[in-house]
């Protein structure tokens, strides 16, 4: 069965001539597996980032003892504790090493599902995506009037959703590399040794955070209707950013229905003709 494209029956209306264009009918946009893995992923990423930053604060630097590290401008400056989770190093480690399984299993379920079910087609980059991304940038910068035509996602969105699993895979692999630098030393060596693997783990986390923050911002700023769609699965294409020509914070809401025109005054019946 195709869960992607089954339109709901058109809404029944008693008024055969509505005064505004009826909204197009909502469609199933996200399979329940996508929705469940999305929200599990949200929780897992928040906890992994928070507990990871708490672990990092036990030694907020990358340098090996007796050396200096080239490439981190904030060596020995802890992350503000309000951004961390787990309260203390041991507690944060327990959260990190428990939640890592949730993150990995959930990620594998998601990737397997989109591979088998075909959703990967909406996410893999294609020829022309770079040009389309540039058009999106121009549109957001008011250098282009109309929203570029898009499929399920716009080109910028596609890039972000494609990059996120890659950043997550990098985070998982570098994480394993610094968890087991002796037992899995080949993996640690692949990332340039423990110090660099720890650095790439941090960078992967930063990438995930940046992509997620932009994602959440854009959801609220251009496509708030997608929140409902990630919960119920239903999405009204008539409210898509393309249909609304929505830029961040512009035209988030469709135009209000215009007030009903005043009823025509009652006319007195024409006088009867007199012969």
């Amino acid at each position: 069965m195709t869960l992607m494209a089954a339109p709901y029956p058109p809404a029944l209306t008693e008024d055969p001539t509505p005064q505004v264009e009826p909204r197009s009918s909502p469609r199933k946009r996200h399979h329940w597996i996508v929705r469940v893995t999305h929200w599990v992923n949200f929780i897992a990423i928040v906890i992994m980032v928070g507990s990871g930053l708490r672990i990092f604060n036990a030694y907020p630097a990358f340098a090996r003892k007796g050396e200096v590290f080239c490439c981190y401008p904030f060596e020995h400056k802890p992350i503000p504790s309000w951004l961390t989770f787990g309260y203390w190093l041991g507690g944060a480690r327990h959260w990190h090493f428990a939640m890592m399984w949730v993150l990995v299993v959930n990620g594998l379920v998601y990737l397997t599902f989109i591979y088998l079910h075909g959703e990967w087609r909406d996410l893999v980059p294609r020829k022309g995506d770079i040009r389309d991304s540039w058009q999106m940038v121009k549109f957001y910068a008011f250098r282009r009037k109309d929203h570029p035509h898009q499929g399920k996602h716009n080109a910028l969105q596609k890039g972000a959703y494609f990059a996120l699993p890659i950043a997550a895979a990098l985070a998982v692999l570098t994480g394993i590399a610094i968890w087991k630098p002796v037992q899995l030393s080949w993996l640690t060596a692949l990332f340039g040794g423990y110090v660099w693997a720890r650095y790439w783990h941090f960078i992967a986390m930063l990438l995930i955070v940046i992509l997620s923050v932009i994602h959440v911002f854009m959801v609220f700023a251009v496509d708030p209707y997608s929140i409902t769609s990630m919960i119920t699965g239903n999405y009204d294409p008539g409210l898509s950013p393309e249909a609304r020509n929505a830029r961040p914070f512009y035209h988030i809401f469709p135009p209000r229905r215009p007030p009903a025109p005043p009823a025509p005054p009652l006319q007195s019946p024409p006088p009867a003709e007199t012969a």
Partner: protein
């Protein structure tokens, strides 16, 4: 369709603007509540379960042939190697009060012994230039000289039923117990030398256990006793909530 023009924009009486404001409020409140918290108490049992399972994963990943290799060009930490102990001051063995220091090795062994520092020096000796992996995230390269633990186990004729080893110290009640496999790893030594000199009190004199296959806190300093055991015996930091296995 009702006549209320707002109906077009509302779901259950909440219009989208309300939804956005309430939604972002709820999410921010939840995130703020989580800030630097321990997390829900109900999660403790799940976390303990995960730690027990991870212990099995770590033991399954363990290979005697996996060796710690110091990266080319890495500098030795030297005096930058942090020093720590749980006593209020650096623990120093007081010979006048406690007699000559000796390391007791007993438990499930055929030949329990008391080894003086001279005895340790006479046992086979290795020097390993290896990384120190601290639970905090830093590493330090040092050269540790001492008796390979496996040689010591052979010397005391450790029983195969000894699946765990407890390393005890005179630094208050500090001790940490290990799985026997990690203890028998070739890079695990009962160390009395650091960077070519005898161990100093700051780093665990007269002798300490040292292995790159365990996190720093598992490597008991100021050794007094090594006990071969049939079951694990927790440890100073393990009992306070750090992972008992603490493998690297």
């Amino acid at each position: 369709m009702s006549d209320d023009p707002r109906e077009f924009f509302t779901i259950n009486g909440i219009d989208r603007r309300d939804f956005l404001i309430r939604g972002s409020g709820i999410i921010s409140a939840a995130l703020l509540a989580a800030c630097n918290s321990r997390g829900p108490k109900a999660a403790d049992r799940l976390l303990e379960y995960a730690e027990r399972k991870n212990r099995g994963v770590e033991a399954a990943l363990f290979r005697h042939r996996s060796m710690d290799v110091v990266q080319a060009g890495a500098h030795e930490a030297g005096n930058k190697l942090p020093s720590y102990f749980i006593s209020p001051t650096v623990p120093v063995w007081d010979e006048s009060a406690r007699g000559k220091w000796a390391l007791e090795v007993n438990g499930l062994v055929g030949n329990p012994v008391r080894l003086t520092l001279d005895d340790l020096h006479r046992l086979p000796q290795v020097s390993n230039r290896v990384n120190h992996y601290c639970v905090e995230g830093w590493t330090a390269v040092e050269t540790w000289t001492g008796v390979p633990f496996a040689e010591l186990a052979r010397f005391v004729r450790a029983d195969p039923s000894a699946r765990f080893v407890d390393f005890q110290s005179f630094d208050d009640d500090y001790h940490e117990s290990w799985d026997i496999e990690s203890a028998m790893h070739r890079q695990t030594v009962v160390a009395y030398g650091l960077d070519g000199t005898l161990l100093e009190p700051a780093h665990g004199a007269p002798a300490r256990v040292y292995s790159p296959v365990k996190l720093g806190y598992k490597n008991t300093k100021y050794l007094t006793k090594i006990v071969f055991m049939p079951q694990m015996n927790g440890g100073y930091w393990s009992d306070q909530g750090y992972e008992w296995y603490g493998g690297v």
